[in-house]
């Protein structure tokens, strides 16, 4: 029976980062994983989707090659080799999960392969091993939410209905795909398959896609999705799966569809089953409840990542992993969720950090809002991709940056500047004064900052 300072259950980006950090800080550490290390993120989430999206982008550029002065006499010679695309994805995933295994070993973290069963807060069983631990970090992640719809089980069995995991491993690119749920995951898959030639329809229950993002970005992004050929249906509810038919209610009227595939992407639920029996508090949606230091109601038991339901994002899971470990090791550490960025990998991308205009107003801030469009940016025109803009929300008295929201091809990389600026309580004055190189997309941030103070130059 081995004894550890820290034991982590689940080797996703929350768990494996926590384990490495704990080991780096000198704790004797174990991690338990029932599937492949890397969790949803590396195996079925962030990484595989971005790998396929890159392939889709290249395909899109090839189909539009004339725009860039490249002739392809006969586009019929161009074909998607789906099995090679999936192979590339698998290779990237393997390389990264291999990297995680290597890092765990290198940092002397003991990896137990198998289902981790919590016996009590200091005792975990994995297969035939019993582990004793001083501290426990629950990082068991989340699973797709499966709605209760008539016929859904049969439809999933047959393969008509799949989750995000399933759609990453289908044998053929569907001709017609229905995506139920237009959140981030739904929009990314819509972008992917639309670019690969699938006829994509998004069913949205409410009357808007992409719930939480700034309204201006949401509206523009929705327009772009539609312009690019994605069909968006609001107030649409699936009522029944019947054979190859999907029976829906669209704003009250019954309609039938017969797609090749249906992707369910209506959210995720925490993998917290059974924890309440151990006395760990869950909220009514099943998320593990923690305090600011990410400790549960049971001393020495922490919960990080999707399982606590705070912000279901990989980088938040990792940051939480570090915070939990720092607290275990005796440093008081908390995370500011308001400043955590979130991204959407569409064509173009969205990068968003800090408060939206709407939330800033709700919170009672006196704000300045400044935007600047990519259509007035030289690099965007040079790249032939000028859809998008930046929106800066700043507090009026000092110009402190409260939020930055970017819709642009490199938005997910560009948002780092926003996060760092907010980390330093930066103002629009510093953003305007920092010389942004020319020609870059990042100049839009400087221009919008000028606009928040006074006037931008280039509009």
């Amino acid at each position: 029976m081995k004894q550890y300072d820290v034991t982590v259950i689940g080797a996703g980006p929350g768990g494996y980062v926590a384990a490495i950090k704990a080991a780096q800080m000198g704790a004797k550490t174990a991690i338990i994983e029932k599937e492949d290390v890397g969790g949803v993120c590396l195996n079925w989430g962030c990484i595989p989707t971005k790998t396929l999206l890159k392939s889709a982008k290249v395909y899109q550029n090839i189909m539009n090659s004339e725009k860039y002065g490249i002739d392809i006499i006969d586009k019929n010679v161009v074909s998607i080799n789906w099995s090679n695309m999936l192979k590339r994805k698998d290779q990237v995933v393997k390389k990264l999960t291999g990297g995680v295994s290597f890092l765990l070993k290198k940092n002397n973290v003991d990896l137990y392969k198998g289902y981790g069963e919590i016996i009590d807060k200091n005792t975990i069983k994995v297969n035939d091993d019993t582990i004793k631990t001083r501290n426990l970090i629950i990082a068991t992640g989340s699973s797709p939410r499966i709605p209760k719809i008539e016929g859904i089980e049969e439809a999933m069995e047959k393969g008509l209905v799949v989750t995000s995991k399933g759609i990453l491993a289908i044998e053929e690119i569907p001709k017609e795909l229905i995506i139920v749920g237009g959140g981030v995951v739904g929009v990314e898959f819509a972008t992917l398959y639309n670019a690969l030639g699938t006829k994509v329809t998004i069913f949205q229950r409410s009357d808007a896609l992409l719930g939480n993002i700034d309204l201006d970005l949401r509206d523009t992004m929705t327009d772009i999705l539609k312009r690019d050929g994605i069909n968006v249906m609001y107030k649409t509810d699936v009522k029944k799966f019947d054979g190859n038919k999907v029976i829906t209610s669209v704003d009250g009227t019954t309609r039938e569809f017969t797609p090749d595939k249906v992707l369910l992407s209506i959210g995720r639920v925490a993998n917290s089953k059974g924890l309440e029996k151990l006395g760990i508090e869950l909220d009514k949606r099943g998320n593990v409840v923690t305090n600011e230091r990410l400790e549960t109601n049971i001393e020495g038991v922490y919960a990080v990542g999707d399982v606590n339901g705070k912000l279901m994002l990989a980088h938040v899971a990792s940051a939480e992993g570090i915070v939990a470990v720092e607290n275990i090791m005796g440093h008081i550490s908390v995370l500011n969720y308001d400043k955590a960025p979130s991204c959407i990998y569409g064509f173009p991308e969205i990068g968003s950090a800090g408060l939206t205009e709407q939330v800033a107003r709700e919170k009672g801030y006196d704000i300045i809002v400044s935007t600047f469009p990519l259509s007035a940016n030289g690099k965007a025109l040079a790249e032939g991709e000028s859809d998008g803009f930046v929106k800066i929300i700043a507090e009026k008295s000092y110009g402190e940056v409260l939020g930055i929201h970017i819709l642009a091809p490199n938005a997910t990389d560009m948002i780092a500047e926003a996060v760092t600026t907010m980390e330093m309580e930066g103002t629009v004055h510093e953003l305007a004064k920092a010389i942004h190189p020319h020609p870059t997309l990042s100049e839009i941030v400087m221009e919008a900052a000028h606009g928040a103070i006074d006037k931008p130059i280039h509009i």
Binding site: K363, G364, S397, Y398, G399, E400, E425, T427
Partner: protein, 75 residues
């Protein structure tokens, strides 16, 4: 309740660079007394160095004054 939050937001606070904050702590300077020369009055590291210099000169002057006082007393 909401209004209190709003007042907190608008309350004057010290804008300072990360380096200036650390430097102030190490040199024993009360950062709230330093006038910042950066954007919108942000306290920069240079401002802390200057504040320290001013403090040291003042302390020196006081020493000198004290010495002078002592000498006068002797006279």
């Amino acid at each position: 309740h909401e209004m209190k939050g709003k007042n907190d937001i608008n309350k004057k606070k010290v804008l300072a660079t990360p380096v200036a904050r650390k430097l102030a702590k190490d040199l024993g300077i009360d950062i709230t007394t330093v006038e910042g020369t950066g954007a919108v009055g942000r306290v920069m590291k240079e401002d802390i160095y200057k504040a320290k210099e001013a403090l040291d000169t003042r302390a020196n002057n006081k020493d000198v004054e004290a010495q002078e006082g002592e000498m006068k007393a002797k006279d």
